[in-house]
């Protein structure tokens, strides 16, 4: 995304304040509806949520950290926070590695590539609620994953290897298996997005570069490691950031698959707003914590990982 900015043209010479508006009347008129809409229906709700998070009618006083203190003391919030971090790390690892493998595959020339590309991209057209519903069918005790593992156990038995598999209710077991189902469900739906970003990156690498490495005698693996991956780094960064933003806010999938046993921040916030609790103040505080968490992740990633890559390149 960054490279677009460098292709800059010098802006028009700017006069003093009032004449600028006069000179750009058309632009201002064109942008006004969009700006007003985003300010009123996105920016204002964000500010409103932040204000709610520091208002605490129970504790009294306006700027109050009471709701944040309540969060720090809440075991459920701790679990939600921990689970969110685990799910994000699991999904990012799965999505980036699978996305990279798929992008490299689709970058090759082979028969039926167009068809395969269409098929592999299909999951991104499936609504999140539906993908969660399907994963429920795959991961319940009498689901397809257990059936597959039972069949594998039978197969090993025929080969003389004794392996007894006890069917697991993945979504209700709690702990890592349940978080794993959430990460897998998320992965299935969004790997195509990662694949597309990385495929765009591969297509942007000039053929001469790879050709030169080939002529220099670099083998396939070493070309990948020392030529292709470094050039792909900015696209990996874009994929990680776009995916992380959505993975931190994971909601529908977690609600359907893990809602009863393992909270994540998204479902925690939902449960605070919903009737039995009906506490918008705590919900708002948790939302602000999630926002800060995402912002911190993005900034740290850009500074630490992407910065180091740039220095190395």
């Amino acid at each position: 995304m960054g490279e677009r900015v460098t292709a800059s043209r010098p802006g028009r010479p700017r006069g003093p304040g009032t004449s600028w508006i006069g000179a750009h009347a058309l632009e201002v008129a064109l942008a006004l509806p969009l700006v007003v809409y985003v300010l009123v229906l996105t920016a204002a709700p964000i500010v409103e949520t932040m204000r709610l998070s520091v208002s605490a009618p129970v504790d009294g006083g306006f700027p109050s950290l009471g709701r944040y203190r309540a969060l720090v003391a809440s075991d459920l919030f701790h679990a939600a926070f921990r689970n969110t971090v685990v799910v994000v790390l699991l999904s990012l690892a799965l999505e980036i590695s699978l996305g990279l493998a798929l992008a490299l595959t689709l970058h090759q020339r082979f028969a039926l590539r167009g068809l395969v590309r269409t098929l592999v991209l299909m999951p991104l057209g499936v609504p999140t609620v539906v993908s969660a519903a399907v994963m429920l069918l795959v991961f319940t005790r009498a689901g397809y994953l257990n059936a597959l593992l039972l069949a594998a156990a039978d197969g090993l038995g025929i080969l003389g290897i004794e392996w007894r598999f006890e069917p697991v209710g993945w979504t209700v077991a709690g702990g890592l298996p349940t978080l794993f189902t959430v990460a897998v469900a998320d992965t299935w739906k969004v790997v195509p997005v990662v694949t597309l970003i990385l495929l765009a990156g591969l297509q942007a690498i000039p053929e001469e570069v790879e050709e030169a490495a080939r002529v220099d005698g670099a083998t396939g693996w070493r070309r990948l490691r020392h030529v292709v991956l470094p050039l792909l780094a900015p696209y990996v960064t874009a994929a990680v950031i776009l995916r992380a933003i959505d993975a931190f806010r994971i909601f529908e999938v977690a609600l359907v698959l893990a809602g009863r046993v393992e909270p994540v921040l998204g479902t925690f916030i939902w449960s605070r707003y919903a009737p039995p609790t009906s506490d918008p103040f705590t919900a708002a505080a948790a939302a602000v914590v999630l926002f800060v968490l995402i912002l911190a992740f993005v900034v740290l990633y850009l500074r630490l990982v992407a910065g180091r890559e740039e220095a190395a390149a």
Partner: protein, 283 residues
């Protein structure tokens, strides 16, 4: 990649074993991508007994359309379908009407300001959508917009506008100012230039943006849930079926929701730079 060896040229074919392995891997990828959709199809026609026991059948041998009939005749399908369609079309029109002019103006800003606006749009995406949704829903409740098409369209627009605007800023940046300048020299007014020169050049990007707005609205769950008390949209109907219906009914509704989108994705991916498609899709 795996196939080439030292000094091999691109045209040379790798060995038979490698090609077989590669074909197997490609087939496995495609099968994994399609498996859940296949499961939906099977479950929607499964007789009740096929889903009990430890090992659900992978292929239903005696398909029944009983559950499809229940869904179609029970009023759980047509009304939500109509509402989802109407809201999605209205959201698409609204998104283009608001975002296209705005994005054009943003694209003509000086670089730093433009960069600031684009980063700002990205940062609004980092805030939990849920809280924005609750705040918007509360305000809409005061305005009597709950359970109306207009209310839901307005809510969907809040979700759609940042990324549609972002997509279109990129498209308008690609239109050289010289083209506009040339039209101006030929005596065209600025509005005429926009309509006759800039819009035709950016038509493909506008089409993509429209499809995304449509997809977003068609899939959207959160705002629909917050702003609906009587008539469900399709995603809500799926969620309700997860909660209360049979698995088969859920699968049937889900397929109605999925099929048009698969068509859209298949068409879209043919006409797109991969980057544009990826940037605009939410997980």
């Amino acid at each position: 990649m795996t196939a080439d060896r030292m000094g091999q040229s691109r045209r040379e074919r790798p060995g038979a074993a490698t090609r077989l392995l590669f074909a197997g891997w490609v087939a496995a990828c495609a099968a994994t991508a399609l498996f859940p959709i296949f499961v939906l199809l099977m479950v929607s026609v499964a007789p009740g007994t096929a889903l009990f026991g430890e090992r659900p059948a992978l292929i239903v041998t005696a398909p029944t359309f009983r559950f499809w009939r229940i869904v179609a005749e029970g009023g759980d399908l047509w009304a939500p379908l109509a509402k989802s369609l109407a809201v999605a079309v209205m959201t698409t029109v609204g998104a283009l009407a608001l975002a296209a002019p705005g994005a054009y103006a943003i694209a003509r800003l000086p670089v730093r300001a433009r960069y600031g606006v684009v980063v700002g749009l990205l940062v609004t995406r980092m805030f939990p959508e849920f809280s924005i949704g609750v705040s918007v829903a509360t305000r809409f409740a005061q305005l009597g917009l709950v359970d109306t098409y207009v209310g839901l369209v307005f809510a969907h627009l809040t979700g759609v506008l940042p990324f549609v605007a972002w997509l279109l800023v990129g498209a308008f940046e690609g239109v050289p100012r010289d083209v506009e300048a040339a039209a101006a020299i030929d005596g065209a007014s600025r509005l005429a230039t926009l309509r006759r020169v800039v819009l035709p050049i950016t038509a493909p990007a506008l089409a993509v943006a429209a499809l995304f707005a449509w997809l977003y609205s068609w899939n959207e769950f959160l705002y629909a849930r917050l702003l609906t008390t009587s008539q469900n949209t399709l995603p809500l109907q799926v969620f309700q079926a997860i909660d209360r219906g049979t698995r088969q009914q859920m699968a049937a509704v889900a397929i109605v929701l999925v099929l048009p989108i698969l068509g859209v994705v298949a068409v879209l991916q043919r006409h797109l730079r991969p980057g544009a498609l990826a940037g605009a899709i939410r997980g």
